[in-house]
């Protein structure tokens, strides 16, 4: 999706505001939202990529102006309304107005304290064999598409080199569309001078994790 979220390399942004450097949450509701996202029951077809896509589908003005956890709240409200877990009327009322959907029971405090939690694992070690060898020269596809994707616009059409093979992982483009499809995932190294027109004399580098269908041989 060619949306506001695709910020890498966007120009015109000013100094980085570090005035809230150290608190994990500046206001209590931010911590509640962060924790709710981890603790709530979820429909079986929920994926992290579908959540990311919901954030990307925010009103562009919201994406540019709202605080981070405010955007999470909007994304989750949107996802739960979309699949019928909640209605907008219920969100307005702050209470249930119709029967709940049957979901697996939510986490309890005792499931959380003192334990490690592992989100759904996107690695699929045996799903595919890599087409590119380490050291291979590649070029990113020129176009994205209207759905969710993890090929940032600044890398499209740009040449890079495979520097590591990470094994097959679920393809976000598919996961955000309700499909489970794994593809070889690579760490790809780009010279800054191939990405940024003003970086002609730079030796700096940018590394991206890219799925096989994002890449073409050169």
């Amino acid at each position: 999706m060619d949306g506001m979220h695709d910020l890498g390399g966007a120009e015109g942004f000013g100094p980085i505001d570090r005035s809230h450097e150290d608190e994990p949450f500046h206001e209590a509701w931010e911590g509640r939202m962060f924790a709710m996202a981890a603790a709530m029951a979820r429909p079986a077809d929920w994926t992290i990529d579908w959540f990311r896509y919901a954030r990307e589908c925010a009103r562009p003005i919201d994406y540019m102006t709202l605080g981070y956890f405010d955007q999470w709240a909007k994304a989750y409200e949107t996802l739960w309304v979309d699949c019928g877990l909640l209605t907008i009327g219920e969100l307005e009322a702050g209470k249930s107005l119709r029967p709940a959907q049957p979901l697996a029971p939510p986490l309890r405090a005792e499931d959380i304290r003192g334990k490690a939690h592992h989100p759904p694992n996107p690695l699929r070690p045996d799903a595919a064999k890599p087409a590119f060898a380490t050291g291979a020269a590649v070029r990113c596809k020129t176009s994205g598409h209207s759905g969710h994707t993890r090929l940032p616009s600044y890398a499209r059409g740009k040449p890079g080199v495979i520097q590591a093979y990470y094994g097959p992982q679920l393809l976000p483009d598919a996961a955000a569309a309700g499909q489970e499809r794994a593809e070889p995932l690579y760490s790809v190294l780009f010279k800054a001078r191939h990405l940024w027109p003003e970086a002609t004399a730079s030796e700096d580098e940018v590394c991206l994790d890219l799925w096989e269908s994002y890449l073409e041989p050169v």
């Binding site: 979220h5 910020l7 120009e11 942004f13 000013g14 980085i16 505001d17 809230h20 450097e21 994990p24 949450f25 500046h26 911590g31 509640r32 939202m33 962060f34 924790a35 981890a38 603790a39 709530m40 429909p43 077809d45 990311r52 919901a54 589908c57 009103r59 919201d62 540019m64 981070y68 956890f69 709240a73 409200e77 949107t78 996802l79 979309d82 909640l86 969100l91 209470k95 249930s96 709940a100 939510p106 986490l107 309890r108 405090a109 003192g114 490690a116 989100p119 996107p122 690695l123 209207s146 993890r150 569309a177 309700g178 030796e203 700096d204 580098e205 940018v206 991206l208 994790d209 890219l210």
Partner: protein
């Protein structure tokens, strides 16, 4: 069932905008009440997450990993070969990531971590990311003008040091293994860990020896 339809999501976002209060504190409170009322959420579990991310999970986890890598060459080799397995040697609570990759600063290369498309971050090692890491300014600029960004963090690299920026586009989570500062030969693992800041593990700071001038 989810629709998996972006235009539908955008439409719902616009409806929410016209129906719900703009104050996020109000909205989040209402969302929590509703989720609990529906049986989709246990408020005690929310309390527990807030508690462990406020008190237990944070940069001290990452600092412990870094200090061990500085003290134990075999651990460092395991960490660089398979970050996920090496970090699993620690008993960190909270949310773990499927793949952890440590990137090592060296005399000739300085690493910097960003997520230009959202806010991916090694939560189990570093806790909740700082606001600036999630801000549009950092996301836009870190890949294009990393040296200007580093200068704002008062990090000025010696000539000949290359900057390598890691844009976290997959479920792999990057963190920087900083260089151990000179003059720390006598410090033990715990004392070394106390020197390692969160920013040093993102790449927006260097680790200072005790008594050296602090980062701004």
């Amino acid at each position: 069932m989810a629709s998996f339809d972006g235009k539908r999501l955008s439409g719902i976002q616009r409806q929410l905008h016209s129906h719900l209060p703009s104050d996020p504190a109000l909205r989040v409170k209402s969302l929590e009440s509703l989720l609990v009322d529906k049986g989709y959420l246990d408020s005690g579990a929310v309390d527990a997450w807030v508690e462990i991310y406020s008190e237990q999970v944070g940069p001290k986890n990452g600092a412990a990993v870094v200090a061990r890598a500085w003290c134990d060459p075999a651990f460092k080799a395991r960490l660089l070969a398979d970050g996920t397995a090496a970090v699993a040697e620690f008993d960190f609570v909270g949310r773990h990531n499927a793949k952890i990759v440590a990137v090592e600063n060296k005399p000739e290369v300085h690493n910097l971590v960003v997520c230009t498309l959202c806010s991916c971050y090694p939560l189990a090692l570093l806790g909740v990311p700082p606001t600036w890491y999630k801000a549009n300014e950092y996301r836009a600029r870190a890949v294009r003008e990393p040296r200007a960004v580093l200068a704002e963090f008062c990090v000025v690299l010696p000539p000949g040091v290359k900057v390598r920026v890691w844009d976290s586009t997959s479920e792999a989570r990057y963190f920087v293994l900083p260089q151990r500062p000179d003059g720390t030969e006598d410090l033990d693992e715990a004392a070394l860990a106390a020197l390692v800041t969160r920013n040093a593990m993102i790449g927006t700071a260097l680790v200072q020896a005790p008594g050296e001038e602090k980062e701004a």
